[in-house]
């Protein structure tokens, strides 16, 4: 049962299944109403619209902007809190045993509905609710990274120089890079899970807004196109950006374990 012998057959089977699914989809055209299962050609045209029609490209750009802003904000906030808890021990229980579990258990749609009341239907509401959902992930992951920091490494740094900032920059920061990459990867995945919901209820633009308009118009082709677009973006970004980044950081700066 060597993986090498199984791999080609396994890949073929997956390909065959995907093809069978595509054939079934084409065959279903005309047999089921288009609002239940839109024909592939319509979905393809809707998908293409994201790259040719300015308005659709704008919604895609808005979603990407919401997600980037939210990831940057929640990472910076989470890092600040995780560092505070690590270096100012007295704040650790407040952060790790009160704030972080509270945020971890808070419902994503709860944040969105509250944000709409507090900030109105706007990008601020969308970014706020994504940040609220992502923050606990950042705190928990960076805490693990800080706990795993090698105490001997820090001691060695202290023996080479008195400048704590220098040893922090040259030793601690690189040692944290692998967990930073892993954290960003997780946050990116989670962000896509909640962003559309936040945009649907709280945003005036973005793919979530678009999908809501399409839903009201029974434009299922656009709904399919948005879903396929997101699956494509998430999968490609994960494989081409985040996974290599994580591997690079781990190889370059990771511990032997």
């Amino acid at each position: 049962m060597s993986p090498a012998r199984v791999a080609p057959a396994s890949g073929l089977l997956a390909l065959a299944f995907a093809l069978a699914l595509a054939v079934a989809w084409v065959a279903a055209t005309g047999r089921v109403p288009a609002y239940v299962l839109p024909p592939p050609a319509e979905v393809g045209a809707a998908l293409l619209g994201f790259f040719t029609r300015a308005q659709r490209a704008m919604h895609l750009g808005a979603t990407l902007a919401h997600i980037s802003a939210a990831i940057v904000l929640s990472f910076v906030l989470g890092a600040a809190l995780a560092f505070a808890a690590h270096y100012a021990r007295w704040s650790a229980p407040a952060i790790h045993q009160r704030l972080s579990p509270f945020l971890s258990a808070f419902s994503g749609i709860g944040w969105t509905l509250l944000a709409v009341i507090w900030f109105g239907v706007s990008s601020l509401s969308v970014v706020f609710s994504i940040v609220a959902v992502l923050l606990p992930f950042a705190i928990v992951n960076l805490r693990e990274g800080l706990l795993a920091l090698d105490a001997e490494l820090t001691e060695m740094g202290a023996s080479f120089g008195r400048d704590p900032w220098r040893s922090w920059r040259l030793l601690v920061l690189p040692a944290l890079l692998p967990i930073t990459a892993a954290t960003l990867r997780i946050m990116f995945g989670v962000a896509w899970k909640v962003t559309l919901t936040a945009e649907l209820f709280g945003g005036g633009r973005g793919l979530g807004y678009l999908i809501n308009m399409a839903r009201q118009d029974y434009d299922t082709a656009t709904i399919f196109a948005v879903i396929l677009l997101i699956i494509g973006i998430v999968t490609l970004a994960d494989r081409l950006l985040f996974a290599p980044l994580e591997r690079l950081c781990t190889r370059q700066f990771g511990s032997a374990a």
Partner: protein, 261 residues
């Protein structure tokens, strides 16, 4: 699982670090600040802790509210169990027939992982009659990839030498699976359960926002529509309470029982 910091270990009043006291003081302070802020703001912007607390009580005692709490709770439990069964089934299928790896691990899992959760909710609203079945479908679709990843990892990490040793004792494969394989899988199954349970309350509740007439998600959306922020906040608190109650009263005891074999 996580390394314990000295602060985690300090328990009991005598051994309580003053960081713990500070943490509790901050919670009290936060509630006081909430009360002070609420007294200056209208109720539809920020209702006070007292009003939210009373509504939270209603969610568990008033029959009309409790109906929604119960509906969400039962559906979450059912969805988590179904997702665990389906995820485990798929992971086991790959284990039994490695040729399925490309299809399930290479195609299905990334597809389900990247599928936006609200996408399932919208498609279910188009495809199915509104009702419990439609909501459970959406929740299961959201939760399955989490269970599949965890159970697949458990099966991959399974100690082959342990299984080989078991094979040398008996030929009954069912007995080996039950007495050796299953205990080895328990930590991953608990991991999958915890993950799915958390995601169910935090994210999968979107299933109740479209085409539903029951549940805390529906209640929150309806309350928000009528600017009843008291109920929105109380529902959020109820979700936090239910999440921790499930962890402490169901998952922790289960993990202890299964781990003690």
């Amino acid at each position: 699982m996580k390394p314990q910091t000295p602060v985690d270990q300090a328990s009991g009043l005598a051994g309580r670090s003053w960081g713990m006291w500070l943490a509790d003081a901050l919670v009290v302070l936060a509630i006081a600040a909430w009360a002070a802020g609420a007294s200056r703001l209208p109720d539809f912007v920020l209702p006070g802790p007292q009003a939210v607390g009373l509504r939270l009580l209603d969610l568990f005692t008033d029959p009309e509210f409790f109906f929604h709490t119960l509906a969400s709770t039962l559906r979450v439990m059912l969805s988590v169990l179904l997702a665990l069964l389906i995820g485990s089934g798929l992971a086991l299928a790959v284990r039994a027939l490695p040729v399925l790896e490309g299809l399930i691990g290479g195609l299905l899992q990334p597809f389900l992982s990247a599928f936006p959760s609200i996408g399932w909710a919208i498609l279910a609203a188009i495809w199915f009659e509104p009702g419990h079945g439609s909501i459970v479908f959406v929740q299961v679709a959201i939760l399955v990839p989490f269970c599949l990843i965890n159970m697949g990892e458990g099966l991959r990490q399974m100690d082959r030498e342990m299984l080989e040793m078991a094979t040398s004792f008996t030929r009954k494969r069912a007995r080996i699976a039950l007495q050796v394989g299953l205990p080895l899988l328990v930590p991953y199954m608990m991991g999958a359960l915890r993950m799915a349970y958390g995601v169910a309350w935090k994210i999968a509740l979107v299933a109740e926002l479209l085409g539903s007439t029951s549940g805390l998600g529906f209640l929150m959306l309806r309350a928000q529509g009528s600017a009843d922020l008291t109920t929105v906040l109380a529902a959020c608190m109820a979700i936090i309470a239910l999440f921790f109650a499930g962890e402490r009263l169901l998952l922790d005891p289960l993990a202890r029982r299964l781990g003690g074999r």
